[in-house]
């Protein structure tokens, strides 16, 4: 396959570099910023040469932010913990609800089935702001404002449709005869579901769970409106760095680095499943 000319190779190389620069440079710049103080960051012209400092990270980890106007308490580590708790619980709940539902939609024809599935998908169309006002009113009445339960519940709007629709496709790709064969061999419905259907759809379930986790992690608006500081995730917590004495760019950069790390690690770890999961349907023999 060595038919590509040198010109093509060079052009391809340049284009790949351009794309990578476009996507990776912001991350690289943020990483650099996280090791600088505000003065160094705001230098004009900006420079790559600087004396690195860890003060942004120490401020985040200790929860003490020193500004010109005095010390400020920040709850960043708590925000990070909230993010982890909210996203994990939301995805687990979505899996518990969404995987059986996906199976039902894939295997059984029932009245209004397609309509219900589409309605669930349509939760992804609506801009969150559209539902937030009525939601916040309901939440006040139900006493769910500023609770983990309430947030995890709202996060189902993000996670459930995603898991339902991706996993449904996987169940549809599994030949029903494989399950039928297991039933005829003498196994109950539940065993056929748990020992045949679930393991065969596992790459899809893993991919859907990872995507749902990332979407939940990145959510900003639900937590901003429906929760107070003690329950808010990092995305909202980063707002705390916009202080009376100025915007703390260094801390924001460090906070971003810390909050991106878990999802990045998770995505790297699950990359195998993701690629396999998202392409399995296409290449299966």
């Amino acid at each position: 396959m060595d038919q590509t000319s040198t010109f093509e190779k060079i052009t391809r190389g340049i284009l790949i570099v351009l794309v990578l620069l476009f996507f990776l440079f912001p991350i690289f710049w943020i990483l650099l910023m996280s090791f600088q103080n505000n003065d160094q960051i705001l230098r004009i012209p900006p420079s790559i040469a600087f004396e690195p400092t860890l003060q942004n990270y120490t401020a985040l980890l200790t929860g003490k932010l020193e500004t010109a106007a005095g010390d400020l308490d920040i709850a960043f580590m708590r925000n990070l913990g909230n993010s982890l708790l909210l996203s994990t619980c939301a995805v687990l709940l979505s899996l518990a609800l969404g995987v059986p539902a996906a199976y039902a939609f894939a295997r059984f024809k029932f009245r209004l089935g397609e309509n219900i599935a589409f309605t669930l998908l349509s939760f992804r169309f609506a801009p969150p702001l559209l539902v937030l006002l009525p939601l916040s009113l309901y939440f006040k009445q139900l006493g769910l404002t500023d609770t983990y339960v309430g947030l995890i519940w709202v996060y189902q709007l993000i996670c459930l449709p995603l898991i339902l629709w991706i996993v449904r496709g996987y169940f549809e790709d599994i030949s029903p005869d494989i399950e039928n064969a297991y039933r005829i061999a003498g196994h109950s419905w539940w065993r056929a579901f748990s020992r045949i259907a679930i393991p065969l759809a596992r790459p899809g379930i893993a991919a859907a769970a990872l995507l749902a986790f990332i979407f939940a992690w990145n959510n900003f608006i639900f937590a901003l409106i429906l929760a107070s500081a003690s329950k808010q995730p990092v995305t909202v917590g980063a707002l705390a760095f916009v202080t009376a004495s100025g915007i703390q760019y260094g801390q924001i950069a460090a906070a971003i680095v810390l909050s991106v790390t878990p999802t990045l690690l998770l995505a790297l770890y699950a990359q195998r499943y993701l690629v396999e999961g998202l392409s399995l349907g296409a290449v299966k023999g």
Binding site: D177, I178, N180, A185, G186, H187, L200
Partner: protein, 370 residues
Amino acid sequence: MSSLELRNISKGFKSGKVLDDVSLSVDAGEIVVVFGPSGTGKTVLLRIIAGVQDPDAGAVVIDGADVTDSAPDQRGIGMAFQNFALFPHFSTFDNIASPLEARGTPAGKLKEQVGAVARMLKIDHVLGHAPRELSNGQKQRTALARALVAQPKVLLLDDPLRNVDAKLRYEMRLELPRLLRTFDAAVIYVTQDYKEAMALGDHIAVLRNGRIEQWAAPATVYRAPASVEVARLFGDPTINLLPCRLEAWGDGCGVTLFGRKLPVAASYLRAVGHDVIAGLRPEHVVVRETEMSSAIAFDLDAVMPVNVRSVLYLRGPAGVELLATVAESDAGKFGRGHRKVWIDFAPEDLLLFDAATGARLAPRTEARTN
């Protein structure tokens, strides 16, 4: 008492009726072949017996007990699927063992039984492999082993040789009847291949348009097909079908084919005056190189050798096309065709069908057919 009995099974989908009042029974140790072209409801019938689909009407009775409303896992059936339907994440051993595992067989006995059936099917050397590492033939044997291992009373085989290569299909056709005899199950074997049906079946049920069109021993289906369609489906090369008219001649009756008057049995008399279709099996056509007084001149268009017999494509008066077969050893004298030949056949070999209904007009004396 039959091991398996189907009583008046009917099943329809949105697109129409698939099975219409199908009844049949299979004794222990008997192999019934359900034969028919694709789309006639053969697979649906098996699914209904297995309990994967419910019939709209009718009952499935196994060993005298009505199981129509039982779940598939309650029926104790063995089934091999056309697409094998192996569990891709289990090893070959675990695939075969799954019916035993469901029945709570202790580990030692389970291993022994899986080993025995694997040896019988010559797959004992691949028990540790995953299904994707197996050849099609091994997959098919694994599926068969899984169906057989628990020694079910009822065994359903859904065209199990469809997806294997020709050589293996031939071997299995010889091997399967012997193998199935040792299990003493009531076997329903579904196929679209008439040779397989002839080779394996104690009885053949010809399924067409959701109905059993004929229920008979293999030789009978071939020699005395119930209808034009059955005659057409059974036999390769296909039967020659020649439209004609049954007329009364003096005492008897007969048809005129290729300008020649052919008397047929007197028992056809009741159908005199009907338009009929005369069926003539290719092997009943005698083809000669030289002219004889009674023979009819045909053009030989082509000679196609097929194993032991060669198929001759003939074109006769008014463009009538006719297929004939001759022993391969005799085919040489015809070269590659494009010549004149003379054909002959015995009027008794004609099968007459009603042109309107397609049903065979059976002479009352079936001496030759049975």
